[in-house]
Amino acid sequence: MTVLPYLVAGWIFLVGVYGLVTSRNLIHAVGCLAVAQSSTYVLLLAVGYRRGGTAPVFSDVPPDRRVVDPVVQALALTDIVVGATVTALLLALVVQLRKRHGTVDPDALSDLKG
């Protein structure tokens, strides 16, 4: 359990990249990118976890309770926004590419070579 969360994060990242490499559909590729990104959330929060700690939100607990790291949570929030926006932009590009090029298969995109 001492390294399991970190290794899971690494697995998610590599599996997402594997999907990107082997993808036959650009929409699927964008989804794989989102998967690869979720590894960063997992790693961030795993790093910030403290055994026996609770959320650093003191609306219903006293401020002297042992808490987990709030900084990584703030970073993860930022990261999630980044991920969603990148996904949105890339999907917008895919939509237009399909219109202009008639395909969402990366193997069929052939006009930028050499």
Partner: protein, 144 residues
């Protein structure tokens, strides 16, 4: 074993229930996938409610509240795109029996107050959502 442990153990049950649901979502028929998605939201909400009590943090219930709003809406969106909304006894059964089985003890444990109102709202939303999305359309399988 303390009461908190009991709640966490109870929360483990819906969590483990998600494992076969994932299998269905990944490898089932289109209709099955939709049912599984619906079920996943319901089970996750129950796990969130129970563990919030287990962690002694009523504030965590907000996550379940948001899920109880977004979950059924998501299922309906999928139904719209996939063109199927199959009925499911399992979902209906969990909405009718599982949700009260979790929410009522939780209400007893929290006692009257704002937290209890929130729990009841979540329970009502989950039940309503579960019932609406599990009713199925009468002309199932016609056209495509």
């Amino acid at each position: 074993m303390s009461a908190a442990d009991g709640w966490l153990l109870a929360g483990l049950v819906p969590l483990l229930g998600l494992v076969p649901v994932l299998w269905r979502i990944a490898y089932g028929e289109p209709g099955d996938r939709l049912i599984a998605q619906n079920l996943a939201c319901l089970l996750a909400a129950l796990a969130l409610l129970l563990t919030a009590q287990g962690f002694g943090r009523p504030a965590y219930v907000d996550v379940a509240l948001v899920l109880s709003v977004l979950g059924p809406a998501g299922t309906l969106v999928y139904a719209r795109f996939l063109g199927v909304l199959p009925g499911s006894r399992l979902v209906r059964w969990i909405a009718l029996a599982g949700v009260p089985a979790a929410v009522i003890p939780l209400c007893v444990a929290t006692g009257p107050g704002r937290a209890m109102v929130k729990l009841l709202v979540i329970g009502a939303l989950l039940m309503a959502g579960g019932l609406v999305t599990s009713a199925g359309s009468r002309d199932e399988g016609v056209g495509a």
